[in-house]
């Protein structure tokens, strides 16, 4: 049976309160960031804070709408919503308008929309729906593949729009998978792949291959009982390298990389035969990982040099800190740290900031809004903001854990993951602890699309949570 619910009674007011505190603080800081003496009416629509006021008003309408919709709707329409957003991402990729070199906007009339912002919400719904299916076995290969498609399809489309930052957000959904039982070893393999990816782009291929060989040896030593045999194996490998090196020196005249690859192939061959004779499956696994890692390194290298176009390459290079304009190396981060640092313990006071307003900090109302907090409100302000976010995140985890349906719990964790990733990267980049990738600070940064997307993400969860008692088991 179903019980009638009362939204007013059952909605989690703690979260609602935290939301409004954050949104209002965000607006005050946008006002401060673009404030000037001539335009000081708070609803001046030619100024960013005037527009943001409008977006906030629209968000309240959005919240009311979400509350009026039946909670079962979201699970039911999870896949259609997801497909619709994928469709929009394709549209934007083909016909979108370019802003700051990212082709991520749909412009209809004077109205601009970034479908990428809403894709997070839709992906969270679709992932929750998929993982909450009955008898879900997360480690079945087929399921892992489906999960990967659900997560990486929107991420890839957003990456193609040149919005690297927003694409990386999807990696945060690994937290959801972890909570839902993905084994730590799968996470480690993913982690290893990410490290290899970055190494393949930043280091000479030879170093990466040496790193792989090193990791394989460590794995062998860790996973095998017979350490003596492993040491023998490593010794055998080194001998192979030496012999091949000499042969190469005398007659072949190829690079050392060739020697290394030939040695790995030879050793793998010998080890495979040993594994067959002694029936040691774990040895197969390690050989497969090593050879797979080699192939992976070369394909990343190839893809990067031959498939990506120049501006995508330079973006990735920039992201990894390989390439940046000579005078601007760390310039933005340095300016941002100066702005935050100059705030001191208690800040310069509302509207008294100078660093952020004088155009010396880039994107001061969007990606670098945290600088204004730091400058005008000081350490107290930044700590309060971080603690408010911490309270919100922990509160959401508590809410997620009290859900009776898998769908709502998983969705709740997705909300937590996405908000946390945005918070960690956005604040991290302003203080030099994370790479500068342009993603907004939830509820704070200027922009209608991002505010609405975060509002929808959060309040759909609150709506589902309010109905948790409908299902009596």
């Amino acid at each position: 049976m179903r019980r009638r619910i009362n939204i007013y009674r059952d909605i989690d007011w703690v979260t609602v309160l935290l939301y409004f505190i954050l949104v209002i603080m965000g607006w005050l800081n946008i006002y401060a960031a673009v404030y000037n003496e001539e335009h000081n009416s708070i609803i001046d629509l030619s100024m960013k804070y005037g527009k943001q006021m409008l977006w906030i008003a629209a968000s309240i309408l959005l919240i009311v709408t979400i509350m009026l919709i039946d909670s079962r709707f979201y699970a039911f329409f999870a896949y259609p919503t997801y497909l619709f957003v994928i469709f929009l991402l394709l549209v934007v990729l083909l016909f979108g308008t370019e802003v700051n070199a990212s082709r991520s906007w749909i412009v209809i009339g004077g109205f601009r929309l970034q479908p990428g912002e809403f894709a997070k919400f839709a992906t969270a719904l679709a992932l929750a729906r998929f993982l909450s299916a009955e008898n879900m076995k997360i480690h079945k290969f087929k399921n892992l593949l489906s999960i990967a498609v659900i997560i990486f399809l929107p991420a890839a489309l957003i990456l193609l729009q040149n919005d690297t930052g927003s694409a990386l957000v999807y990696a945060s959904l690994l937290i959801v998978l972890y909570r839902e039982g993905l084994s730590v070893s799968v996470l480690l393999i993913g982690f290893f792949a990410a490290i290899l990816f970055i190494m393949a782009l930043t280091l000479p291929v030879l170093y990466v291959l040496l790193f792989i060989v090193f990791v394989s040896c460590v794995l062998l030593l860790l996973l095998f009982e017979a350490k003596k045999d492993v040491l023998k194996g490593i010794f055998f490998f080194l001998i192979t390298v030496g012999v091949l090196y000499l042969i190469n020196l005398i007659s072949l005249d190829r690079s050392f990389m060739w020697v290394l690859i030939a040695s790995v192939v030879t050793s793998s061959f010998v080890l495979t035969i040993r594994a067959l004779i002694h029936k040691i499956p774990i040895l197969f696994l390690i050989i497969a990982i090593t050879i797979g890692a080699f192939a992976y390194t070369f394909s990343v290298d190839y893809l990067f040099d031959n498939v990506l176009v120049a501006h995508q390459r330079s973006r990735i290079n920039h992201l990894l800190g390989i390439e940046s304009d000579p005078l601007g190396a760390g310039y933005n981060v340095n300016q941002s740290k100066i702005a935050i640092g100059s705030g001191g313990f208690s800040g310069k006071g509302f509207l008294q900031g100078t660093q952020t307003k004088y155009d010396f900090v880039p994107e001061q109302s969007t990606d670098f809004i945290f600088c204004t907090v730091g400058e005008e409100w000081g350490f107290m302000g930044t700590t309060v903001v971080l603690l408010l976010f911490l309270m919100l995140l922990i509160r959401l985890i508590v809410l997620a854990e009290r859900q009776r349906s898998g769908f709502s719990r998983i969705y709740g964790y997705a909300v937590v993951s996405i908000l946390f990733f945005h918070l960690a990267v956005n604040v991290g980049m302003t203080i030099g602890l994370a790479p500068v990738i342009g993603i907004p600070l939830p509820f704070f940064s200027y922009g209608g699309s991002s505010l609405w997307a975060f509002t929808a993400l959060l309040f759909v969860f609150l709506r589902i949570d309010a109905s948790r008692r409908e299902l009596l088991r």
Binding site: G181, G344, Y358, E401
Partner: protein, 611 residues
């Protein structure tokens, strides 16, 4: 049971979140509370990068005569937040602008940034600048920035030199060097040698306080980079000859291209109507450009390498050479001419002259019938392989003279003319085509198109008896050793050296022979000129007058092609113009006063049909 173990994972997630927040708060504590460096530096550690613009390279002619130099110009800049109330009317008076201009520019500047400088008025005139400097203190927030403008001492060679203008958004996006508002060579030499001429921008880094006042050099100027001036370049052009050529072509539409055969250096490249190069420099550039663009005579169009005309009878020289090379005629071969070439229902007229005539006389008298025979022989008898193979062989040799392809001159927007593939005719005549179908190409009519540059180049190849150098305009670049080696390679044409002498003799006789020689009007006392007239049919009006020539015969110093649109027969205008160019270049002055007066005074613009 699994659910139980998974439940502990929420603590892991919460721990990670708390850990990261603690790290961030610790870091914030360090930079906001512990570290005083940020507080003390905040007021002075804001950096401002000021671009140092290099001086653009100068351009000289082959005799080191200055053709392009720079003049200082001043942009008035504004920083909106430093503005105080000022007397708008006074500013308008000093600058010659309207109050609405002031309003619009200030609004634009504020929209860009309240704290960064925007251009308020570009290129304040020298007179206004003097007054402005005196009264600038009345207008806080305004300051001037020095830029340079291109200036031209002589009103010549506008098409060759080209012009510079502001970069567009596309360039800014694709080339990191350029920032919005920078200048770049847009056409001509300015474009072709942009990289050499522009130099390298520099930068000075200053520390600026919160009121945007410069507090001094950052890090003792360690990050400063001074601007590297652009390199000066020397052109192969002879400014005097160029000026003379432009004067000859005044009030006429067309082109003169003169090349030094022994090097491929372009001595003059005239395209008329032309314009004063100063028109496209400075504040009035936009207005002037639009005016020129709307002019029905198309003064912006560089006819020397973008106009594609039929070569007319000058093409007979090429067909004579190919005929000799393929062996279908010899110097002694004679054909009769019955006031033209008549076969069956086909008829192509000719003018009255002695008949029959041999190869040398055929050039001297420019006989149409003779070349109908020669051309049909080439297509039908050069080999047994049939017309397609023979035509392609002919086309290949024609292309070896530089026709139907881009020559590779160091100049943008060169066109390639047209020598059609045999397929073109197969399509038109549905495979069943014969040499009579395209016989008009024998006399340079029909489907063939050439540019004046290609004509001059092929004349140079004839003067050299079988090779040419890719025509070029660059003679010297300040800091580089020599020019692109591709301009120093001999390009051999597909005709052997021995076949040139009879053809050149024909061209010599055309100028120096007795009555009936077509180019006698080009004769110049004391210089052996070899030339060939041409007339290109013009469906829109009077025919175009064409002449190619080189001189002296045995030691060629100059090869020239002249196109005069609506000029009628080649001998009427083009031949005397070429003769005068040769006289000017080889002798240094023109002594035939009446002869050049006639050309100076001729106005053919009224013949241009306006449609």
């Amino acid at each position: 049971m699994q659910q139980v173990s998974l439940n502990t994972r929420k603590y892991v997630v919460i721990s990670i979140i708390i850990l990261i927040i603690i790290i961030y708060i610790a870091k914030l504590f360090s930079i906001q509370v512990l570290d005083n460096q940020y507080k003390t530096s905040a007021s002075s550690n804001v950096l401002r990068h000021i671009t140092q613009y290099p001086v653009r390279g100068l351009i000289y002619d082959r005799n080191n005569h200055l053709m392009v130099y720079n003049e200082a110009a001043y942009d008035l800049m504004v920083i909106p937040h430093q503005l105080k109330a000022f007397d708008t009317a006074a500013l308008c008076e000093i600058l010659d602008v309207t109050p609405s201009y002031v309003d619009a520019q200030l609004r634009k500047a504020k929209n860009y940034s309240r704290y960064k400088a925007s251009v308020f008025l570009k290129q304040v005139s020298a007179m206004n600048y003097a007054q402005l400097q005196e009264e600038l203190y009345l207008f806080p927030g305004f300051f001037t920035q020095t830029r340079t403008l291109r200036k031209y001492p002589d009103p010549i060679a506008a098409h060759v030199l080209g012009y510079v203008g502001e970069v567009n958004d596309g360039i800014v996006e694709n080339d990191k060097y350029y920032k919005s508002g920078d200048y770049i060579g847009i056409s001509g030499i300015e474009r072709a040698y942009e990289h050499e001429l522009r130099g390298q921008k520099g930068v000075e880094v200053f520390m600026v306080d919160v009121h945007n006042r410069i507090k001094g050099s950052y890090n003792d100027g360690e990050h400063d980079r001074s601007a590297v001036p652009g390199q000066s370049i020397q052109l192969t052009l002879d400014a005097e000859l160029q000026a003379y050529g432009e004067k000859l072509m005044q009030n006429k539409i067309g082109s003169i291209v003169a090349i030094e055969p022994a090097s491929g250096e372009i001595l003059a490249m005239v395209s008329t109507p032309t314009y004063h190069p100063n028109l496209l420099s400075g504040r009035q550039r936009g207005v002037n450009y639009r005016k020129l663009q709307l002019d029905s005579l198309k003064p912006l169009f560089n006819r020397a390498l973008q106009a594609q005309y039929p070569p007319g009878s000058t093409f007979k020289v090429l067909n004579a050479l190919i005929g000799l090379q393929t062996g279908v005629v010899s110097v002694q071969t004679e054909y009769s001419c019955y006031y033209g070439y008549h076969i069956g229902s086909f008829s192509l007229g000719c003018h009255g002259h002695t008949s029959p005539l041999n190869l040398i006389e055929s050039i001297q008298h420019s006989c149409n019938a003779y070349y109908c025979h020669v051309y049909r022989n080439i297509l039908d008898e050069a080999s047994d392989a049939g017309i397609v193979v023979n035509y392609q062989k002919w086309r290949e040799i024609a292309r070896s003279f530089g026709f139907g392809k881009k020559l590779g001159i160091d100049f943008p927007f060169e066109l390639q003319g047209l020598i059609p593939e045999s397929k073109y005719f197969e399509n038109i005549y549905k495979s069943a085509w014969n040499s009579l179908n395209i016989v008009s190409m024998a006399i340079g009519q029909g489907e063939v198109l050439v540019t004046p540059l290609q004509m001059a180049n092929s004349t140079a190849a004839i003067a050299n008896r079988g090779f040419y150098y890719v025509p070029h305009l660059i003679k010297n670049i300040e800091k580089e050793n020599g020019i692109d080696p591709k301009y120093e390679v001999k390009r051999y044409v597909g005709v052997d050296e021995e076949h040139f002498d009879p053809v050149i003799e024909g061209m010599y006789q055309a100028v120096h022979g007795g009555p009936g020689s077509t180019a006698r009007f080009a004769k110049l006392e004391g210089i052996e000129i070899c030339g060939k007239t041409g007339t290109a049919e013009n469906p829109h009006g009077e025919d175009h007058s064409i002449f190619i020539a080189f001189a002296p015969k045995d030691d060629p110093k100059i090869a020239v092609s002249v196109y005069v649109e609506n000029g009628g027969y080649g001998s009427v205008y083009a031949a005397p113009i070429a003769s005068l160019i040769i006289e000017k270049y080889l002798i240094g002055e023109v002594k035939r006063g009446w002869y050049e007066e006639r050309i100076f005074n001729a106005n053919l613009l009224s013949r241009e049909k306006k449609d």
